[in-house]
């Protein structure tokens, strides 16, 4: 029995190894406030972004560290399920000193008292008035600032110039009715199988990309007390065009219909002649589809009104941080005029400070001006602490309205009822 010794050895060595591991837990003590050079270490958590953005972030951080030689920034990316990980670490009191927070999740964290109020840290020099109001207000509760927006993007229309030329169209559509006509002309279904090879319009079906349509029709996303409020005629009117275009006219398609990851991808692959997307699509197209000749414009008017959505992310400070002063210096730099200028210099994201936007001249930038223009009337993607629940239920039901499984009225009603039930039973 040759095997015996081998198994005995395996058993003993694994026992030894187990006890050795249990014994010496000194290997990587979680880093304390200072590193070996005596510098204060500030931990920063964020989600992963494109390599180009990552590079630029590194550059901005380096600029900060040069100005503050006594502080070292330890930046770690959370690979997936960002908010779940952040929440778990916050509960354990082990979250990073500074982390990214999407406006969507801000209300619940502000209410839960886990973020450091920043009012006492702010100085005259920081110049809060310089921020675009709707963006900075997304991280403010009862007069207290809990974070400052690092950048933002609005939605705009991307249109394929070549496709427009072929269809005999000049310039982007001015309003939604025009967009609908254009989409019909731009849709290409050569083999006539009912599945176009190129859709007139590519769009995203999530609430985050649809909610801004409610307002021009006099509807709204949530009530004063944070409950869903879209099950009414106004909202139906607002969403009906896109449902009709998808379901009946087949002039609008989803990225998943053509195997694309998101609208920008769909547009780059020329499977949609127009898409409604954010600023992040510009560098994406530049890198992956440099040959596509396109333009951007403000979103077509909805019911005679200008409307778009704004997405913004802030740097916030952990209330349990042990290096609050250093953490503040970092936030101050990153959201201050100097840091923001470096960070937004390449146009991956737009500056939330008016002065920086002026300085970088994005208002005159051919592709980016449409996004900057939108900032003044954009509706931030945020609506109280229940928005994640509302969003879930909307996303769940709206698809089936798109597919014609149920009418839009039914879908919205169902989404609202389920969401509000859930909200009232959890409180």
């Amino acid at each position: 029995m040759r095997g015996n010794k081998w198994f005995a050895a395996l058993g003993i060595s694994s026992l030894l190894l187990g006890s050795a591991l249990a014994g010496c837990s000194n290997s990587e003590e979680s880093s304390s406030q200072t590193n070996s050079d005596g510098k204060t270490v500030v931990e920063l958590n964020g989600w992963g972004s494109s390599p180009e953005e990552e590079e630029l972030l590194k550059e901005t951080i380096t600029a900060f560290e040069e100005e503050h030689p006594n502080i070292q920034i330890k930046h770690e990316v959370i690979a997936d399920q960002y908010m779940d990980v952040i929440k778990t670490r916050l509960i354990g009191g082990e979250a990073a000193d500074v982390f990214y927070l999407d406006a969507l999740d801000a209300p619940s964290l502000m209410q839960q008292d886990v973020l450091e109020p920043l009012n006492d840290y702010m100085t005259e020099d920081f110049d809060v008035g310089d921020f675009e109001d709707p963006l900075v207000n997304a991280f403010k509760s009862g007069g207290t600032h809990y974070g400052f927006p690092k950048d933002f993007s609005t939605l705009a229309l991307f249109y394929d110039k070549q496709a427009f030329e072929e269809a005999g169209l000049e310039g982007p559509p001015e309003n939604w009715e025009e967009l609908r006509e254009y989409a019909e002309k731009l849709t290409v279904d050569e083999d006539g199988d009912g599945t176009p090879e190129r859709y007139g319009l590519g769009f995203a079906k999530e609430l985050a990309r649809q909610f801004y349509k409610f307002q021009p029709y006099g509807g709204k996303l949530v009530t004063e007390d944070g409950k869903a409020a879209f099950a009414n005629e106004k909202s139906v009117e607002a969403l009906k065009p896109i449902v009709d275009m998808y379901k009946n006219e087949k002039t609008a398609g989803l990225p998943s219909d053509v195997g694309a990851g998101f609208g920008g991808d769909m547009f780059g692959q020329q499977k949609a002649a127009m898409v409604i997307e954010g600023n992040w699509t510009i560098p994406f197209l530049e890198n992956n589809f440099p040959d596509v000749d396109y333009g951007t414009s403000e979103l077509p008017a909805i019911n005679g009104e200008k409307a778009t959505a704004a997405f913004t992310v802030a740097y916030v400070m952990n209330k349990n941080s042990e290096v609050k002063d250093a953490a503040w210096e970092f936030i101050e730099f990153m959201t201050g005029k100097e840091g923001m200028e470096i960070w937004t210099s390449k146009g991956f994201a737009l500056p939330t400070r008016k002065s920086v936007a002026d300085k970088l001249g994005y208002a005159d930038d051919g592709l980016r001006s449409s996004f900057v223009e939108g900032a003044s009337y954009a509706q931030p993607w945020q609506a109280g602490e229940n928005l994640p629940i509302i969003m879930n239920n909307f996303d769940n039901q709206f698809v089936s309205a798109l597919l014609g499984e149920q009418t839009l009225e039914e879908a919205l009603k169902k989404a609202e009822d389920t969401a509000n039930n859930e909200i009232s039973s959890s409180n």
Binding site: G3, N4, A22, S30, Q81, A96
Partner: protein
Amino acid sequence: MNKKRITSILVYTILIGYAVITFIPFLWAVLSSFKPLSEIVSGITFIPENFTLGNYTEVFSREPLFFRWMLNSVIITACMVALNIVFNSMAGYALARIRFAGRKFWFFLILAVLMIPFQVTLIPSYLILKTFGWLNTYQGLIIPGMVNATFIFMMRQFFLNFPKELEEAAQMDGLSRFGTFFRIVMPLAKPALAAQAVFIFMSSWNDFMRPLIIMSDKDMFTLTLGLNTFKGQYISYWNLIMAASTLMTLPSLLIYAFFNRFFIKGVTFTGGK
């Protein structure tokens, strides 16, 4: 004879058909990792037209910590496999063969813990690791995972089928329970142990959720966590994602191919004497 022939043709047809269904998607994924991005995006080519190794060198060069992550994964996985094999088999053996008080209770408990989804125990487990000061350490991943209820259960079911006479003979020869277990039972359980080794290796190697929450320091990432972070950043770079995915899958496949020989009929008993 003719009937036998038809059966065997039928069996081969089904096996080959199933193999094709299974193999094509993987072949596609692996082949894609040798294509430049433009080729993947531009449409469906199956075999790379412009064969390149560039995606792999790029993954290595863009992630300087690649080998560190690999080392972390190897250390953690090696410990997990060694500890699990011994501990799970011991527990499975006890539950199947030793008549001790409370045996039924423990067996039921082991089944019961499998039935609670981890989503609700994640936060309490995290808090416990924090209390021990094991966040961001190897032992934070290894110690809680050094036994596995699933495989205790599996080993118990295996040992139920085991020839009891061998153990009795060994005990007559004066071997203790421990001696019997390590010298007689374990060597005879090679197929089950090999299967277990493969599964533990895979689950530890591919584990994503636990390292994601426990390891906050990039130096301590496992390969799977690191490459997933990489994938998050290179979301539209399908060529690099496919290369990273292939790199993630390869070790498990090699381990399986290695242990596969233990499943081959006859090894158990011819090797026993």
